[in-house]
Amino acid sequence: MDSALSARQTVLIVDDTPANIEILSSILGAEYEILFATSGREALALVATQSPDLILLDIMMPDMDGYEICKRLKANPQTQNVPVIFITALSGEADEARGLDVGAIDYISKPISAPSSRPVCATTFN
């Protein structure tokens, strides 16, 4: 079982709202190993010791916003190649452009749902 688990790809969910983590985990948990962080600092500390295959990153968080976290991830040689997908309620073109500008590859829009989030993750891994 452990070898089966470790063979699965790992997704790090970063969101300051535990309910959102629970929702995404219920959608993706059957296919991927799920790690979580509820703050930017916790996320950056976690990626220093773990190696997630994908990071789902909330934009609006109190200690450090998603853009800043993404910038730091992309500036770090250890994490710069890990794909980042933003989770956001912001849907303007400017917000999307800013996200792509700091290195994100895609968006998942809130409210989070299986039809919107599962294909985005699958596409990333494929």
Binding site: L5, P18, I21, E22, S25, G29, E33, I34, L35, F36, A37, T38, E42, L46, T49, Q50
Partner: protein, 140 residues
């Protein structure tokens, strides 16, 4: 009842009292009642007095029956998952609960489950530490 308790003296004294009452032997009745009282006291003093078991009482801790190697392995696995904020920790609660069912750490287990389910993994790690201390096990 007297027979079940092997209280033959009580049976004899009670029979004598009964006979005296039926035959209106008032003169002997007081002495016969004293005999009955004395024989009853003898029987009652021989019955061990124990409080009835409380239905709400927690099952007694039976740590000698603990499978310590498996408990240690399960706690170490859970601790590792908690340190990495890995949500697989949730799946490891049920087996641990079974392993520690009679370990006398029900309160700490409840605390651990509550912390994991609310994604308070630091609190959950503290609960794991408390359980290991309570059971005197060292995690690898």
């Amino acid at each position: 009842m007297a027979g079940n308790l092997a209280a033959t003296d009580v049976f004899a004294a009670a029979t004598a009292v009964d006979t005296a009452i039926r035959q209106s032997e008032q003169d002997h009745l007081s002495a016969l009642l004293d005999d009955l009282h004395a024989s009853l006291q003898t029987v009652l003093s021989g019955i061990p007095v124990a409080p009835p078991p409380s239905p709400l009482a927690a099952p007694p801790a039976n740590r000698t029956a603990l499978d310590l190697p498996r408990v240690t392995q399960a706690l170490a696995k859970l601790d590792g998952l908690l340190k990495n904020n890995n949500l697989a920790a949730k799946k490891h609660l049920a087996p641990l609960h079974d392993l520690l069912a009679f370990a006398g750490v029900a309160e700490l287990l409840a605390q651990l489950e509550s912390c994991v389910n609310s994604l308070d993994f630091k609190g959950a790690q503290a609960a794991v530490t408390a359980i290991t201390q309570e059971l005197s096990v060292a995690l690898p």
